[in-house]
């Protein structure tokens, strides 16, 4: 393992510490990442490691920097400091191993494109500028649509889809990339129950195939059902680890503070009870 020239970063309590060493194989490792909008850090000096062959959730209150952390890890928004490793390599060198599912609301759904066209966008890197989308590629795109139960919609204009269907199309596009690490930004936000089921089935299948899945998630009641690993964030890292011993009342209280009512906590299937 090479950890040469790691920058020294200031920890929250002001002590200068070396960031944790980079685990060579981890699908996604974030080291000392700070992202700032203006002069207010949205994510401050965060270390996070997301394990292989697992589904991980990034959890925290609104404005805690969940989506920001994901986007900064991908380089979609610039990092002020810190490093991101994907399977031990700097993220820039491992792009073809990552598939990203952005928030549904981040695009204009009246854009002139069909469901099939959107899924094929996942193949653009493989096809290149001049390459033709071969029959084999089209078949693969159709197969991905089939996996999310949207095969019948391939010629629809995307604006005619329901919110849940739009989310499934985005997932199909990521599947078309045939990546090893899947990063999803609130995949269950505002979707119907059938879609949530369909998405979680696909993600569990990915995990079974040995892929890593990391999702920004906001519904605490489903965390234990869906995920193996959690990362709790509120600007700073609060806790991370297996759901069974990290998704605890104490950690949730530390993450959400007063915003999470005790009565609400009682109803959650958290590890270890109250």
């Amino acid at each position: 393992m090479t950890t040469t020239q790691q920058p020294i970063v200031a920890a929250q309590d002001g002590r200068a510490t070396r960031p944790a060493a980079v685990p060579t194989g981890a699908p996604l490792a974030v080291r000392g990442v700070t992202v700032s909008y203006g002069e207010k850090p949205a994510v401050f000096s965060v270390d996070a490691t997301f394990p292989a062959e697992a589904m991980s959730a990034i959890i925290g209150p609104n404005g805690a920097g969940k989506s920001t952390l994901l986007k900064a890890a991908l380089g979609v928004i610039p990092r002020l400091s810190g490093e991101v490793y994907v399977f031990g390599q700097p993220v820039e060198k491992a792009r073809e191993r990552i598939a990203y599912v952005p928030q549904r609301a981040s695009v204009d759904w009246d854009f002139p494109t069909t469901v099939m066209d959107v899924v094929q966008m996942g193949l653009y890197r493989k096809v290149g500028l001049l390459g033709r989308l071969s029959g084999q590629m089209a078949a693969r795109a159709r197969d991905c649509l089939d996996r999310v139960g949207m095969a019948d919609f391939s010629h629809r204009q995307i604006g005619q889809l329901s919110g849940g269907q739009q989310q499934r199309v985005f997932l199909a596009r990521a599947l078309a990339q045939d990546a090893d690490l899947y990063l999803l930004d609130e995949p269950f936000a505002g979707v119907d129950a059938a879609t949530e089921r369909a998405i979680i089935d696909v993600l569990k299948l990915l995990k079974a195939e040995g892929k890593a899945v990391v999702a920004v998630h906001h519904d605490l009641s489903t965390v234990s059902d869906y995920f193996d690993h959690v990362f709790l964030i509120n600007v700073r890292r609060i806790a991370e680890g297996p759901v069974s011993d990290t998704f605890t009342t104490g950690n949730l209280q530390a993450t959400y503070g007063g915003r999470l009512a005790a009565t609400h906590l009682d109803e959650l299937p958290v590890a270890g009870g109250v």
């Binding site: 990203y100 981040s106 695009v107 204009d108 002139p112 494109t113 069909t114 966008m121 890197r125």
Partner: protein, 404 residues
């Protein structure tokens, strides 16, 4: 009229033919390369870029005269305009990225300042004693008088390159226009692709300066793409339809202006494009205004018909005159509001379908199916005949409506 047809078949003289062909080529290039500008929602950036060409034209003229050359050398003028336009573009980019100003403010600032500087420089040029400056002001609104073969060649070569580059870069540009975050996550350099897109627009602007002028070139970039959007739902097709619309507008506009004295070519081309836009806006099959009105009327009729039948089934009086008129016209009720036999039969069917839906909700836990209830969708489209038979078995025998 005769003059129009002569011009249409390029028989109205060498200059008119040259202008018509040049305008058609320019229209095609502008329409297709303007597509992504429109899809990326940055149409107005091109307006600022176009206005930022003016100082370059004047400065290039001054420089060429100072060096003892011909101040009106076309290539020199276009190169000068391209340079200041590029500076304007970078400034807009820089202002919206590095300051808290939004892009629209940056556009306004750059457009105003560059155009103002251009007008000042142009005034200075007018007062210069040397260099045959007459005609420089035609870059504002374009001019076809004295269009040379050389001008047409510039348009043909530059335009073809712009169209080729648009085609070549269609995938990255589509991706960035639709979902720039996803593009960035895939490793595309979004900023560079945006600059390239604007560079293409800039190239078309510069080659179109002399024919259409810098004030109206934005219309040739945007109107064809907006028009094309009415006719297709696929971005790849928007490129070619926009090119065709742009080419057609250029050709027809040039022909129209050649067929009568004192019709300015650039503005006429823009008006032709605008006419095609209005036609598309009104008549396009799915996105057009007329289609939308008809669709809405049809939908409203279905709602009223269904509500009327439900009222009949419940033996309520139908109060809304529109509903009553609709049912009367279909022979479902008599003008006094009493249902006919057909009306009673249909009302019974509608009422029964409502009760079938109730049963469906009870026995089908799948929200995907029962969730399709909206009061209008026929139950036969959602459930199979066997399933409906099962609902009926649970409901018991049908009940007649209206007490015959």
């Amino acid at each position: 009229m005769n003059a129009f047809f002569e011009a249409l078949i390029l028989q109205a003289g060498y200059n008119a033919a040259l202008v018509a062909v040049g305008a058609a080529l320019l229209g095609f290039a502008a329409g297709s390369s303007g597509t992504f500008l429109f899809l990326r929602k940055r149409a107005l950036v091109s307006d600022a870029v176009a206005h930022a060409t003016l100082p370059g034209v004047a400065l290039a003229f001054m420089l060429m005269v100072a060096l003892g050359g011909d101040g009106r050398n076309l290539i020199g003028l276009l190169a000068g305009s391209a340079i200041t336009a590029w500076i304007g573009l970078l400034l807009i980019e820089w202002i919206s990225r590095r300051t808290r100003l939004a892009e629209d403010a940056a556009i306004g600032a750059v457009l105003g300042v560059f155009f103002g500087v251009g007008i000042v420089l142009l005034t200075i040029v007018q007062s210069m004693s040397a260099g045959r400056q007459a005609g420089l002001e035609s870059f504002l609104l374009g001019s076809t008088a004295g269009m040379l073969f050389q001008d047409a060649v510039v348009i043909a070569v530059g335009g073809s390159l712009a169209v080729f580059a648009t085609w070549l870069m269609r995938r990255p540009m589509t991706l960035v226009a639709f979902d720039s975050e996803y593009a960035a996550a895939m490793g595309y350099n979004v900023r560079r692709i945006d600059l390239l897109m604007m560079g293409l627009v800039l190239a078309v602007t510069v080659i179109g300066l002399k024919l259409v002028g810098l004030i109206l070139i934005v219309a040739m970039l945007i109107i064809p793409a907006v028009t094309a959007r009415f006719w297709t739902d696929r971005s790849g097709r928007v490129i070619w339809i926009a090119g065709t619309i742009g080419g057609l507008s250029g050709y027809l506009g040039a022909v129209l202006s050649a067929s009568a004295p004192a019709l300015p070519t650039g503005p006429i081309i823009v008006l032709v494009a605008a006419a095609l836009f209005v036609l598309s806006l009104l008549l396009a099959p799915r996105r057009g205004v007329l289609a939308a009105v008809l669709r809405h009327r049809r939908f409203q009729r279905r709602v009223h018909r269904r509500q009327g039948l439900l009222a009949l089934a419940a033996r309520h009086a139908i109060r809304e005159t529109y509903t009553l008129r609709l049912l009367t016209k279909e022979g479902l009720v008599r003008p006094d509001g009493v249902p006919t036999d057909i009306g009673r039969a249909q009302a019974a069917k509608v009422a029964r379908d409502e009760r079938r839906w109730d049963v469906a909700r009870e026995i089908h836990q799948d929200a995907g199916l029962t969730g399709r209830y909206d009061g209008l969708t026929p139950i036969e489209e959602v459930f199979t005949a066997d399933e409906i038979a099962e609902f009926d078995r649970r409901l018991g025998p049908p009940v007649a409506v209206g007490g015959a």
